[in-house]
């Protein structure tokens, strides 16, 4: 009797889990499937459930034709800029918040957190005016600057949590040996929190890669569109075949999935590795 109940419990939990997996993965699968279908099938005879893999060879040319690679290059530029800028600012801020007591520490933490509840839609208008004054509209640099303000605080939280776990004694002994504060940060703390730095960098990179609202509002020149804006535009105009839009969307999505999976492992190992050895 007890065995039957245990078996039933395991079976139920497995079935629920399988249901979750199907729901999570299906839209991605469907994006892939749609990218290999013809519009005549999609809007006429019906979409086959299995992908037409034999058409995969045509996809690169179709992507080339809609100029997705230029769009992705713009996204990559924004993402790289956001990552580098916010990395420098966040490492320093996280170290400062983790290792020192000072006046205004509470307010600094709150200011960082408050960026997470600020509707970008509210800031779009004044930022638009600010950027117009400094010639930063229609500029990828402008997007890097605007996006970093919202991505960097997240990096600060991740990195600060990691630094908090490192015992101060290691830096203390380095300090006694005459190591400067910057040296303690760069030579002792940073190597110890590498997994968290990687996680923060990936999160920031894809914040920049994915961002839509600022890009959609600030960029008027089509050559400067990032992929997020370009893809949304494709969907609005019916001249681009749906399969091409989906192939482009998949190409836009895959790097994000790969990198998030990579750091996910690093985060877990970072959590379990324990603080200090020896």
């Amino acid at each position: 009797m007890k065995n039957i109940r245990k078996f039933a419990a395991i079976l139920t939990s497995r079935l629920v889990l399988i249901g979750f997996v199907v729901v999570s993965a299906f839209p991605i699968y469907w994006m892939f499937n749609t990218s290999l279908a013809l519009d005549s099938e999609l809007f006429g005879t019906g979409q086959d459930f299995l992908p037409h893999l034999e058409r995969a060879g045509d996809v690169p040319q179709k992507l080339e034709d809609v100029g997705i690679f230029g769009l992705l290059a713009n996204s990559a530029f924004i993402a790289t800029g956001v990552t580098v800028l916010s990395f420098i600012l966040a490492v320093m801020a996280a170290y400062g918040l983790s290792r020192f007591k000072f006046h205004g520490k509470g307010i600094s933490g709150f200011v960082l957190f408050s960026t997470q509840m600020m509707p970008e839609a509210l800031l779009v208008v004044p930022l638009f005016a600010l950027f117009a004054t400094f010639g930063l509209l229609n500029s990828l640099t402008g997007l890097v600057l605007a996006n970093t303000a919202f991505s960097m605080p997240v990096a600060v939280f991740i990195i600060k949590t990691a630094i908090d776990k490192i015992p101060y004694e290691i830096e203390e002994s380095a300090r006694v040996d005459g190591c400067s504060p910057a040296g303690q940060l760069g030579m002792i703390v940073v190597p110890l929190v590498l997994p968290s730095l990687a996680a923060a960098a990936v999160i920031n990179f894809f914040d920049g890669w994915n961002e839509f609202l600022f890009a959609n509002t600030f960029i008027r020149q089509q050559e400067l569109w990032p992929a997020s804006v370009g893809l949304a535009q494709f969907m609005g105009q019916y001249s681009t075949p749906l399969s091409t839009v989906m192939a482009a969307a998949l190409l836009f999505t895959l790097p994000a999935i790969v990198f998030f999976l990579l750091v996910q492992r690093q985060i877990v190992s970072g959590l379990t590795a324990g603080a200090v050895k020896g």
């Binding site: 999570s24 839209p27 020192f100 960082l112 509840m117 509210l122 800031l123 994915n210 969307a249």
Partner: protein, 310 residues
Amino acid sequence: MTVLTDRKKTKRPQSLRSRAWTRSLPYLFIGPAMLYISIFVMIPLGRGVQLSFTDTKLINPQGGEPIGVENYAELLTSERFWNSFVVTVFYSAAIVIFSLMLGTLSAVLINRSFRGRALTRALLTFPYATPNVAVALIFLWMYNQSSGIFNESLAVLGIGEVGWLGDPDYGLFSVILATLWKVTPFVMLVVLAALQSVPEELYEASRVDGADVLSTFRAIVLPHLMPTIRVVALLMTIWSIRRFEIIYLLTGGGPVETTNVLVINIYQQAFQSQKLGMAAAIGVLGLLLSLIVTVVFFVVDRRASLAESQ
């Protein structure tokens, strides 16, 4: 250890210059980030608040006249604004409640070891990594009224077409569904990390007591998870209040304003009706909503942690 105590004994009084250096040191680390946020968030925010008290138009962004609280007065008596407010609260509440339930459930299910666990977890993480614009595109296609997979499947079952995004009865539901797909894995990952820090002895003890899975979860695991769940609930709430892309690209606030959350309303006022002052006023009220939620959270969190430690 000996080094440390030696150090204490030999500590000399610091010179004035080195004391000033020590005192300014934390500000040198935190300063650049604070300066950055001041320039790109706080000053624009101040300008936004100021705009909300003017009748500034998009065609002449520098030329608005101060009109006091007129924008706010108009909003508080406007049906459209209150509709946005109610939709925002309903949308956020639905996202928080269901993402927490489903995210916690999937974290618990995946926390035990079984074959294919790494793959399962990877598949469950996919939506979290998918860019918002891509989420909107694939759901737009799946929700497509005449040819999307949802209605095609319903047709097989002999059920007629549903206007997932076009029917006022379904619009908000469909937007919530797409959002849940995207955000639930975040809850799962965070709760999973917290679950892995539940000491193994606690499970063992309850197993010895003969407790079943459900009561073990309620008595032992859930209390351990509560601090994490509260933080996730706060993040989910304030992120939901400001979420833009998915809703904007799926419905643009329609049908008949049933998905017209505050941020969509801001965008429409600013870039369609061209009323920057009015848009800013809605933004300020939206921000106030987030602030109230955050303050309530910190009060509840403090009380709860006090209660839990007793």
